[in-house]
């Protein structure tokens, strides 16, 4: 606020425009120089040769342990720069629109519901990583290895244990159960158009009832007073009675890992989670996340190293506590918390023909439109 002192008597007004421009330039450069420095406490090695930079584009939820990344950087003489670009869909759109001049060398985080968009738009280069050898085939959805599987998460119904105990009620076992009168007004789900677990649950119903049978099922769910909210945060934190927000609905669409994290992130520590996941056959949908080397990258060799690293045991074992997802590499061991509290579905809805990757690729948009018309409007 030094406008008061900055105008000297002798200056001509015609200079004012120029002065303003200079001021703006100054402000802009000041921004650059006052930008807070790196705040992560990475071990700083004295660079003998100039470090190369590998750029990794990803979504908001990406996280990694400092030490795990530091080991990769030290081993390969590289500095990894992460570019986060919003939710999965937004990040993917950015990658697609910038494919002529990519923002990064590698893209991580596209999942099996968005995979077809990435492959159709041709943003990835194929890479037959040696790390793929040990990974079960069920995760490999791209035969050409342009997108390589890294992790998975199962979207399952969760229920509030206290509510069911208090009311002497059995939790639902099948999707059909959710239509029964005793479960009326108990379920909260997410809008599949704005939420990734919401879309996963829509695909679960499509796997179970086919197309167009799923629309009938949803109409009955609406009659049984299902609550549809915009996203996971509102459903889980606000409406679900088994989590922190203490809402009014005891059944929610979330992940099979959520109860384990209720134990991990409890204050004070608890022995048992307040919620549990339903993992009975065909009630869960498996989301698989992929990594790919972006076309037009500047560092193909480093990008390959990064992909190998993401499939390696070290990174795979780091995944669950950082990103709440699970390793596709069977050699990776899970922490004790998970073996104790995690319930794994034996059979997900993915194996049903209606929800096959090819079908998802072909009909994703049409399903979303039809669902919106049938359930919301």
């Amino acid at each position: 606020m030094n406008t008061r002192t900055s105008c000297s008597r002798n200056k001509k007004f015609s200079l004012a425009g120029i002065r303003l421009t200079i001021l703006i330039v100054l402000v802009l450069t000041a921004c650059t120089s006052t930008t807070p420095g790196p705040v992560t406490s990475l071990p700083v090695a004295t660079p003998i040769t100039e470090l190369r930079t590998l750029r990794v584009m990803t979504h908001d939820s990406f996280a990694i342990s400092e030490a795990v990344l530091a080991a990769f950087e030290a081993e390969n003489g590289v500095k990894v720069q992460f570019v986060k670009s919003g939710d999965v869909g937004t990040a993917l759109n950015k990658a697609i629109l910038s494919k002529d001049n990519p923002l990064a060398d590698v893209f991580y985080g596209v999942d099996n519901t968005f995979l077809s968009r990435a492959l159709t738009e041709g943003i990835f280069e194929a890479y037959n990583s040696p790390g793929l050898a040990g990974i079960p085939d069920e995760f490999k959805l791209d035969a050409e290895n342009r997108a390589l599987p890294v992790d998975y998460g199962d979207v399952c119904l969760n229920y509030d244990k206290a509510y069911f105990a208090k009311n002497n009620l059995q939790p639902p076992v099948t999707l059909d159960d959710l239509l029964k009168p005793e479960y009326k007004s108990l379920l909260v789900v997410e809008n599949p158009a704005t939420s990734s677990p919401g879309l996963a649950f829509l695909l679960t119903t499509i796997g179970n009832y086919g197309d167009p049978g799923y629309l009938d099922y949803w109409k009955k769910l609406v009659q049984n007073d299902v609550l549809v909210v915009d996203g996971w945060e509102t459903a889980y934190n606000t409406e679900f009675s088994g989590a922190a927000g203490k809402g009014a609905r005891p059944i929610v669409v979330s992940y099979n890992s959520s109860p384990a994290f209720e134990v991990i992130y409890a204050e004070p520590p608890v022995e048992q989670p307040s919620s549990a996941a339903i993992v009975s056959p065909k009630t869960c949908f498996r989301q698989i996340e992929f990594v790919g080397i972006l076309k037009g990258n500047q560092n193909r060799d480093l990008a390959e190293k990064w992909v190998d690293f993401m499939l390696s045991k070290t990174f795979q074992e780091d995944l669950p506590l950082q990103m709440f997802v699970f390793p596709v590499n069977p050699q990776a061991k899970l922490a004790e918390t998970f073996t104790k509290y995690l319930q794994q579905p034996q059979e997900t809805a993915n194996s049903e023909a209606a929800a096959s990757p090819a079908n998802i690729a072909a009909k994703r948009e049409a399903w979303l439109k039809a669902w919106t018309e049938a359930v919301l409007r």
Binding site: C7, T34, T35, T90, A162, T238, A244, S257, E267
Partner: protein, 575 residues
Amino acid sequence: MKALSARLRSISFHYWLLWVAPLAFLGVFYFYPLVNILAVSFGRGQSGPVAPFIEVFTTPSLLKILGFTFWQATLSTAFTLLFGLPGAYLLARYRLRGRNLILALTGIAFVLPTLVVAAAFNAILGPRGWANLLLMQMLGLEQPPLHFVNTFGAILLAHVFYNTTIILRLVGDFWAHLDPRLEQAARVLGANGWQTLRRVTLPLLTPALASAALLVFIFDFTSFGVILVLGGPRFATLEVEIYNQTISLFNLPLAAALSLIQLGCTLALTVLYTRLNARLARPLSLRPRQFTLRRLQSWQGRLLAGLYLAALLGLLTLPLVALVTRSLTRVESLPDGSGVLAIHPTLDYYRELGVNRFNSLFFIPPITSIAISLGYATATVALALALGLPAAWALAHNRKAASSQVFEPLLMLPLGTSAVTLGLGFIIALDRPPLDLRASPLLIPLAHTLVAFPFVVRSLAPALGSIKPRLRQAAAVLGANPGLVFRYIDLPLVGRALFVAAIFAFTISMGEFGATALVSRPEYPTLPVMIYRFLSQPGSLNYGKALALSTILCLITAAGMLAIERFRIADIGEF
């Protein structure tokens, strides 16, 4: 005489130069990315750029969305005006104890992320909120009687909650400097209170009133988070549908058509407003605040003012109180399954903010996040004032000038632009040196300035416009160059408005999330970005941390606003 008029002409000749910097900024950081993304989007269509428009106007569900967007914005703006105007009047005409605190409290709402506001409202009106629990107990009900989330009422209430501060500040500030003698004269001449209001006060207030109403309307018109989170999936505005078409359905041509329609509506409204305002604005003798403020004398007056302030603070601060309380308490169901909730006070959530449990790379201690937010906000204030002041000055100098008529509506456009469209525009347009800003932290203050810029101009232009030209002319005749005229005439008269403008820029930057998330570098998260990170993870500890950080955001914002008020150098009183 000839020399004088030549001199006056030469002053006005230079005024268009003031537009250079603001327009250059908008050109590079707004129009260039926008035109790029629209061109690319339409280019992806199979059947030319007209087809998506035909699709919009022949699809009933899209037409319904268009209608709903206007309808909810109109209602929200009307309620916000109804609720805010008595407050603007009170703050403008009466000495109130703690007026700065009242203003600061109402301003906090402006910065809170939607998810946090939803959580706060839910603590009161949600199915297990205080209000519902109380009513269930009193009336012996089984089910909560009040439904809040996923209702139209929630959208309206949240819009009033967010935007009342705009009315209080923009209208209240202008009103405070209106000469009360005009109204007094009308009363002396026999007009009753209603006539005075209708024939004297309202016409004088119109420029500020229209300015504020337009801003509120555009904010409501392009509403996104409130509609999604509080309105729920049944309601969609254009902005929500643009996001849906872009991200979920990847129909970029249709999204571009919707973006242009939203932009067209904003432009039409602004042009309408500009035309109206050019006719309505009149020079006034603004008075220092100490001459316009009175004490509340009668007990009826005090009672009414007290009731109104209670309602105002009730709506605007009860959710905040709920938020703060919740961040300091642990709620758990008793293990016996009775559904009874036990509540314990705790500081754990605050303590845990500084703990990096799993040594995550992107862990940021809260203090760093605060510093980052404040850094961005400071840069935004500086940039928005540096660009907004010349624009407002040029605008105020001659509203009827061709340059003002053309440029003024342009300033408002960024507010009417879809965040997701512009965000993608940045990615494809600013991708080559010297402007390769795609991964630069610089994008954040730039994006925030785009949003804050119209507010700065709106706060300043009415005040600058109401300065009598005679004052400037007199100074010019006495030998002052335009710089000196500005220094000794305009600046002291608008010092107060300058601070209103700075506060808007500051709060917008502190609370902005949509654009920030789109261009965020994970090493430099702002407070709202950190809050969303915690909210998107399961576990009561993460939820508590999100609320604790939201409380910190409220406190920092309030402190920032109070500090800016303190720095006030030149109220009109110094003149």
